[in-house]
C-alpha cells in the first residue's frame, strides 16, 4: 500500500482504534480524550474519515449491535491500518528529529556569535 500523508484527525482516529474495536461515538470520545479535547470530531467529519480508511483497507467492520433500539457498528484496525499508522509515526518522528537537531544547533551557535 503506498504511504498516505494523514491529516491530524485521521491520524487520531487510527490511534483511537489501537486499543480495540470502537463504535462511532467511541472514536469521537477517544480522540477527544487523546487530544485533551483539542479535537472534537463532528459526525460528518468522522464518517468521511471512516469511509476513506475503510476504502483503503485500513479499518474494517468488527460487529454490529442494537442498543436501546439504536444501531452501533464497531470498527477495528486491520494489519494494513497498523502499518499505515506505523509509517505515519515514523514520518512524524523523522520530521521532529530534523527540527530538533536544527534548534539544538542554533542554540549552540548563538553564544558563539554573541562572543
Amino acid at each position: 500500500m503506498p504511504h498516505r500523508v494523514l491529516s491530524e484527525q485521521t491520524f487520531y482516529v487510527l490511534t483511537s482504534l489501537t486499543a480495540g474495536p470502537l463504535h462511532g461515538y467511541g472514536m469521537i470520545a477517544e480522540v477527544a480524550a487523546l487530544t485533551d479535547e483539542r479535537i472534537r470530531l463532528r459526525v460528518g467529519t468522522l464518517y468521511g474519515i471512516v469511509d476513506r480508511l475503510a476504502s483503503i483497507g485500513a479499518i474494517e467492520l468488527d460487529r454490529e449491535e442494537i442498543v436501546d433500539s439504536r444501531l452501533r457498528r464497531y470498527y477495528r484496525l486491520t494489519d494494513e491500518g497498523r502499518l499505515l499508522l506505523a509509517r505515519e509515526i515514523a514520518r512524524q518522528a523523522a520530521n521532529a528529529r530534523v527540527a530538533e537537531r536544527r534548534l539544538a544547533a542554533q542554540a549552540t551557535m548563538k553564544p558563539a556569535i554573541s562572543r
Binding site: 470502537l22 461515538y25 463532528r42 460528518g44 476504502s55 436501546d68 444501531l71
Partner: protein, 396 residues
C-alpha cells in the same frame, strides 16, 4: 475522558422520534440515498450519543427543543458534497472528477480575483478621481481633486471589499497548505454571506443573484471539503490552487485586470458624456464589468482561438488531459448560463418600442438564443460533448 465504558454502556435515547432526531434526519437528507440507506441509523445514534454526553443533565430538553449545531451542519454538508461528487469509491471516474473539480475551482478563483481587482481599481479611480478629471487626465488637475469624501466612500464601499476578498482568497489558494486553503474557503463563505445580506436588502432582486450566492457557498464548501481530505498517495507538496504556468498566468491576470479596469473607467466616462457615438458599443463590450462572466467569455474565446492555432502548427498535437476538458466544459457552460439574463436585458432594451409587442418578444427570444449559441454556445456544446465522450470511455 475514557471511551471504554461505551463498549458496554448505552446512550439512552427514547424510542419515539424526538424533535432533535427529526431535525437531524432532515439534515442527513443532504447525503446520497444509497449512503443514507447504509449509514443513517448509525450516524443518528452517534450524533445523539454525542449530544447526550455534551450535556447529560439537560438531554431531555435538548431532545425536545434542540437542533444540530452549525459545525455539525457544515460537516454533514461537506460530507454530502464529497459523496455526491467523488462517490465512496476510489474509481478512475472518482479520481478524474476530483481533479476536474479542483481545476475548475482554481480557474474560477483566478477569474473572480481578476474581476475583483478590476472592481477595486475602477471603483478607486472613479471615486478618488472624478470622471470630469479623467476626461482630461494630462493637465495635472486630477490629483488635486482627490477628496476625503471619495476616500471615505471607497473605504466604506462593500463591493470594493468584496473585490479585495476575492483577490485575497485566490492569493491564499495559490500559496497552498491546509491553513491557507481553509482561510480561502472562509473568505469565499463571508463574501457569499455578504452577498446574501445585500440581495436580501434589495427589493425585487433577480433569481440569478440568489443562484450566484448559492454557487459561491458551494465554492467555499468545495474548497473546504477537498482540503479536509487526506492527500493522494505519494503526493508530498501542499494542496494548492496553483495552475500550470502560474507565473505567466499571474502576469497575464494583472495585464487583463489593468486593461479591463481602463475599459471600465473609459466606458463610464463615455457614458457620462452625452452624445459620444462609441459609448454604447464600449458599454456593450464591457457590459456587466466587473463580472467574471464577461471576463470568462473573452478569456475562454481567446484561449480557444490560441489553442486551435497552436494545435494546427504543432507536428504532433499533444492530447489535452481529460480533467482540463471537463473543467473547461464546466466553466463555459457556467458562462453560457450566466450570460442569458444579461443578453436578454440588453436585447430587450434594443428591441422593445421599435416593433409591436409580439414581434418584439419573438425576435427577442430568437436573437438571444442565436447570439448565445453563435458565441459561447458552440464552444460549450463542443466541450461538453467531448467531456461526456471521454467520461463514458472510462471504467466505473
Amino acid at each position: 475522558m475514557d471511551a471504554g465504558w461505551l463498549r458496554t454502556g448505552a446512550p439512552t435515547a427514547p424510542a419515539a422520534q424526538s424533535e432533535l432526531e427529526r431535525r437531524y434526519r432532515r439534515l442527513l437528507r443532504l447525503l446520497p440515498r444509497h449512503y443514507r440507506d447504509e449509514r443513517e441509523e448509525e450516524m443518528l445514534a452517534v450524533f445523539l450519543a454525542a449530544e447526550q454526553s455534551a450535556d447529560p443533565d439537560n438531554f431531555d430538553i435538548t431532545l425536545r427543543y434542540g437542533s444540530p449545531s452549525w459545525a455539525e451542519r457544515i460537516s454533514i454538508a461537506a460530507l454530502a458534497v464529497r459523496l455526491h461528487w467523488l462517490g465512496p469509491s476510489n474509481s478512475a471516474r472518482a479520481a478524474l472528477r476530483g481533479r476536474a473539480t479542483w481545476l475548475f475551482l482554481s480557474v474560477y478563483l483566478l477569474l473572480a480575483a481578476i474581476s475583483g481587482a478590476i472592481g477595486v481599481i475602477s471603483t478607486a479611480v472613479l471615486l478618488l478621481w472624478p470622471p470630469d478629471m479623467v476626461n482630461d487626465p494630462l493637465d495635472g488637475a486630477g490629483l488635486a481633486s482627490i477628496s476625503f469624501a471619495g476616500v471615505a466612500e471607497f473605504v466604506t464601499s462593500v463591493s470594493s471589499w468584496l473585490g479585495v476578498g476575492w483577490v485575497l482568497a485566490w492569493a491564499l489558494g495559490v500559496a497552498g497548505g491546509k491553513r491557507a486553503l481553509n482561510g480561502a474557503a472562509a473568505i469565499v463563505a463571508v463574501i457569499a454571506a455578504l452577498a446574501v445580506v445585500r440581495w436580501g436588502m434589495t427589493p425585487y432582486s433577480l433569481w440569478t443573484s440568489w443562484a450566484q450566492c448559492a454557487f459561491w457557498f458551494l465554492i467555499a464548501l468545495g474548497l473546504f471539503a477537498a482540503n479536509s481530505a487526506d492527500r493522494e498517495p505519494g503526493r508530498r507538496e501542499p494542496l494548492t490552487l496553483r495552475l500550470p504556468h502560474q507565473r505567466r498566468l499571474t502576469i497575464g491576470a494583472v495585464g487583463v485586470a489593468a486593461v479591463m479596469s481602463a475599459l471600465a473607467v473609459a466606458s463610464f466616462c463615455a457614458d457620462s458624456g452625452s452624445g459620444v457615438p462609441w459609448s454604447s458599443w464600449l458599454a456593450a463590450a464591457t457590459g456587466g464589468l466587473p463580472d467574471e462572466g464577461v471576463l470568462s467569455c473573452w478569456i475562454v474565446l481567446i484561449a480557444a482561438a490560441v489553442w486551435r492555432i497552436r494545435r494546427r502548427r504543432a507536428v504532433t498535437p499533444a492530447p489535452i488531459p481529460d480533467e482540463y476538458v471537463i473543467a473547461a466544459a464546466a466553466v463555459v457552460t457556467l458562462v453560457f448560463v450566466a450570460r442569458i439574463p444579461w443578453l436578454y436585458d440588453l436585447m430587450q432594451g434594443v428591441l422593445f418600442g421599435r416593433f409591436g409587442d409580439y414581434t418584439s418578444l419573438i425576435t427577442l427570444y430568437l436573437v438571444v438564443f442565436s447570439l448565445l449559441v453563435a458565441t459561447v454556445g458552440v464552444l460549450a456544446i463542443v466541450l461538453v460533448t467531448s467531456a461526456v465522450r471521454r467520461w463514458r470511455a472510462l471504467p466505473d
